[in-house]
Amino acid sequence: MLDKNGIAKRIAKEIKDGYYVNLGIGIPTLVANYIPSGINIVLQSENGLLGMGPFPYDGEEDADLINAGKQTITTVPGSSIFDSAMSFGMIRSQKIDLTILGAMEVSENGDIANWKIPGKMVKGMGGAMDLVASAKNIIVAMQHINKAGESKLLPSCTLPLTGVRCIKKVVTELAVLDILPGGGFKLIERAPGVSVDFIRASTLGKLFSENSVPEMNLD
């Protein structure tokens, strides 16, 4: 079973040279720490930055330079700043190659819910609805099971949707799963030491798998 950094590490393998990538808040942010060497990518932050760098050293933080999670950050050489309209313009026109975000629920047909729990939580969708409606390639990074022990991979979402039929891949502490074009989770890889049966028992949505499912390679 993977920890958060393990999930981030596995997702980092999906990133190809030359990608522009938008990382959501939470586990997705950690992905930046595991970009393979020799791979040049650019991180977009939807508050208006291409070329996000690491967090600043103490004393070098700048209140005017934050990411979409409101964290102090730095820029890398070759970065550019733009306004919110252009930022979502480039998102809608699919200039961002890969979006990685968290979720509360994902359904077997690729729907995602991650912005609202009626009566309990009303933080808002931020840029998530724009991202999932526009991105060519969206990977969800999340726990397979919620704190109440229930599967987050469902036949259909029970929470208000963020987007429909948009998720292509889910990476959890247990597995890597593709969403099949016709619906259903296809088990691609198991986390080290996790059995197919355990993954099946943890997945409420339709699950397809080959006879033999490889373990993830995290090196």
Binding site: Y57, I81, D83, G163
Partner: protein, 233 residues
């Protein structure tokens, strides 16, 4: 050139009245018009509709206006990090219209660009789409969303000149330029106010034609919401 300078923040906001719709620039606490917010709190103008990506934190930004119950309705994309906000929302004191961040930005831009409506795929198939026109282009569904109509846009820039030209610094730019274009009246507060001719025409983000009033702000706190650091190894 046309001089847009007003003497201070009180003059700048003097005709904002109860029931007005305001756009307020900034993302989180970054690039917010601190001086105007403080003056609006002092003035005590009520029943405002505020269009702003966020609602500040409990004791800073728009949170200060929420504490004094000055806001009737918030139109935002993300309103976490604010307990008083959540209390007013759950008790029904505060109306909230949550909309996707790109939709928020583009509805501002639409107003500034004289486009009455725009199409966006954000929110198709979700509760955001309820009651909205859906239209298919090239096999993909889009929602039709209307340009905002705001009595005042209140923005914060880094530098400005007396003609109202504005330059923003780093990611404090965010919603400020699109809101500056969108207000019936646009009020800009700047950290540094200079004479015309001191800014490079090629590097102006908001041309002065969009700005009705500009003033030199003071005492910027520029509070950091999430101070995250790298550790020197």
């Amino acid at each position: 050139m046309i001089n847009k300078v007003v003497s201070n923040v009180k003059v700048a906001i003097q005709d904002i009245k109860d029931g007005d719709t305001l756009m307020l620039g900034g993302f989180g606490l970054c690039g917010i018009p601190e001086n105007c917010i403080a003056a609006l709190v002092e003035k005590g103008v009520m029943k405002l509709t505020c269009i702003s990506n966020n609602a500040g934190v409990d004791d800073f930004g728009i949170g200060l206006m929420l504490q004094k119950r000055q806001v009737k309705k918030m139109i935002s994309s993300y309103v976490g990090e604010n307990a008083e906000f959540e209390r007013q929302l759950l008790s029904g004191e505060l109306e909230v219209d949550l909309i996707p961040q790109g939709t928020l930005a583009t509805r501002c831009m639409a107003a500034g660009y004289g486009m009455p409506a725009i199409f966006t795929p954000a929110g198709v198939g979700t509760e955001v789409a309820e009651g909205k026109e859906v239209r298919n282009f090239n096999g993909k569904d889009y929602l039709m969303e209307y340009a905002f109509n705001a009595d005042f846009a209140i923005v914060k820039a880094w530098k400005g000149d007396t003609a109202g030209n504005l330059i923003y610094r780093s990611t404090s730019r965010n919603f400020n330029p699109v809101m500056a274009m969108a207000g019936k009246v646009t009020i800009a507060e700047v950290e540094i106010l200079v004479e015309v001719g001191e800014l490079d025409p090629d590097h102006i983000h908001t041309p002065g034609v969009y700005v009705h009033r500009i003033f030199q702000g003071s005492n910027y706190e520029k509070r950091i919401e999430q101070k995250t650091l790298s550790v020197k190894s």
